[in-house]
Symmetry: C2
Subunit: 440 residues, 2 copies
Amino acid sequence: MSRKREIEKKLKTINAEIGDVIRVICGKEEYEGVLMPHHEFSQENIITIKLKTGYNIGIAVDEKTEITLIQKQKTMEKPVKKIPFDPKKPTISIIGMGGTIACYVDYRTGAVHPASSAEELAFSVPEIFDLCNVRSQVAYQMLSENIEVTQWQRLATLIAEELNNGVTGVVIPHGTDTLGYTAAALSFFLKNLSGPVVLFGAQRSSDRPSSDAAQNLIAAVTVAATSDLGEVVVVMHGEISDAFSTIHRGTKVRKFHTSRRDAFQSVNDVPLGRVENGKLSLQTSYKKKTTGPVIVDSAMDQDVGIVYFYPGLKPEDIPQKKGVILAGTGLGHVSAKLLPCITSRINNGSVFVMTSQCLFGRVNMYVYSVGRDLIKAGVFSGEDMLPETAYIKLMWVLAHKKTRQEVESLMRENLAGEISERTRTDAFLSMRNETTQSEC
Amino acid sequence: MSRKREIEKKLKTINAEIGDVIRVICGKEEYEGVLMPHHEFSQENIITIKLKTGYNIGIAVDEKTEITLIQKQKTMEKPVKKIPFDPKKPTISIIGMGGTIACYVDYRTGAVHPASSAEELAFSVPEIFDLCNVRSQVAYQMLSENIEVTQWQRLATLIAEELNNGVTGVVIPHGTDTLGYTAAALSFFLKNLSGPVVLFGAQRSSDRPSSDAAQNLIAAVTVAATSDLGEVVVVMHGEISDAFSTIHRGTKVRKFHTSRRDAFQSVNDVPLGRVENGKLSLQTSYKKKTTGPVIVDSAMDQDVGIVYFYPGLKPEDIPQKKGVILAGTGLGHVSAKLLPCITSRINNGSVFVMTSQCLFGRVNMYVYSVGRDLIKAGVFSGEDMLPETAYIKLMWVLAHKKTRQEVESLMRENLAGEISERTRTDAFLSMRNETTQSEC
């Protein structure tokens, strides 16, 4: 019998399951904590428990190790009562998409799995019922890197249904990895918004003391229930501290850090506003909500790709697609040796749109000769759009317009705040001279 | 005769050439300024002059327009004297690569062309002779988007020759578009550096009042002539003002803005130091210069590419190369549907290295299931390396190591400051609450 099966048998004998509190005695050492799932990278003879301090430790188990059951896992408190309803308060709708934000129920085991319902998410932060009534549904339980056009389209339909049924706003818990892509897609899909559409997520799950889940949920609900925004926005931590949450325009936001809570930053635009100490403030111009109805226009031509230029990129590395977003260097350049290929692809009907891998600033292909050659070849300017936003937009535009002229014209038009008229000096990130060093 | 030829004839009659001051009288309007080259996007009947204010205007010319010559262009003052030599001062070497930094000679016409020699560049900012003696050569006159492995290799050889011939340091004027890639390449190529290797550029050419060319040159020369750095660094404006120049480690820096002078920012590392009011300060640990000799080890396997993940990326969009840098989402993820392709490519001998399109933060593929699946498939972690630095490094590593184990081990080793041991909270950019708005 393998060591792993042996441990499993030992645990079964004492009726200990994952989530129960157990005591493990190995010689003179004694550990007490919550039994965790066997980690697939651990050796077979290792049992993992989460200590009261919150740390997980792995303990090598042999024949002499004693394991005793201290306490069965408390049954999760299910929302036995119905969600409260107060006719004087606005009603918002939560539409779950999965991600770290929806993982609070696993705090005992530390494993990351989605919650089973959006109600559970709402009940985990009951403060939101002070602000509004809550309706909720789970659209998807997905890791966000697997979310694509199909999911964006269904989500847009659900949002429109909810708003057209009278909710004040919609909040969408979403994995942070591709949250920016979904926000951009919804921005182009949803017209005549009668309420705010607020995407948010969490960089740390609720079992961690540094979790941003609760603050982001409360801030998102505050925006959805109390603002007059008629836009798709992203609400996430504004600083490494819990000082405030920032409201970003859906077409102008990007995840800039793998793990920080203030990972999301606006690009080429100042944020729309913030939620600080429960107070909403909108600091710049925005589209106001309408009286409806919300219209969904979500046709997409998926034959589009993004290529980041690098020295050494060869013509054959540019995918053969109907639409190509180039993320060129600087003001919008690629090496001269790519020109013949780009020219011939455009002559054969492809659409190329130039953005910059700098991410900040505006494409200007008139300054240097290679840029002018790209314009001559028929490459369109992506202005100051993020490459990812230009990608979403081009899929949308190609599904709506047929001729090159129509496509170019619509790509240059500011449809959903994705193109800034002028370049603001305050819409850039700089290194702060922070000196503190702590968990980030 | 076309209108353009007509204008050319008119100018020839009065012996006016590009760069000369002319007066144009159209009816009641009178303009005086420097004759500019005909812009290829201007209509044929347009003549362009640069006014004293620095602005260019286009004037429609017809039969009645009078053009008179006011002053022939002053002949460019060539360095008739030899570059001064003071045996008490250190000697640095300037090795020109082209780019905006080398375009000062065209300030009268406003067109962007490289200078004809690095001496001209040095003489344009004579303050540097107070600091040191200058040797100079032009390695290339290239727009930086065309610079590739071959140019990096020759540049490394020239740098090593200069340092081994006794210069104190080397400064390299370079186009900003791919300056970061060149800095990373030199960081891996050059071993046992006996002096600083300083790359710098200009975001604005010298004809503009906001040019950063002179300050960046002086700061770069200060670092090369007076610091004890034994690293490859990038020196560029530290702020939108002229307050100071920042010294970035060559493997940790990236161009983040298409046009701002403070476009270059360190990623996952604090800058090495700064030059402020002519004073050099180094603020963090760095590799000190040796007594030499400098060794060049520049073998590269160029069969490597970078792929930025996006929702909708298909297996066939991943180039068939020996080495692939993935710029995944978040902690290092791609969609589950790419896994079979990645697994089979790795089984066929390809090397995949995961970096994050967040750019900031560290890859950690152990947190979520897709990350663990990628590790199982054999994807290596790029730790906190920039995708572009990981790309350069993988080309270098593949040319030096044969087995998967050796390649993985070297990719994980910190060879040139490209991997930070720990994640610093102060090595992240945040939106500054700047309120001023001016030309950026």
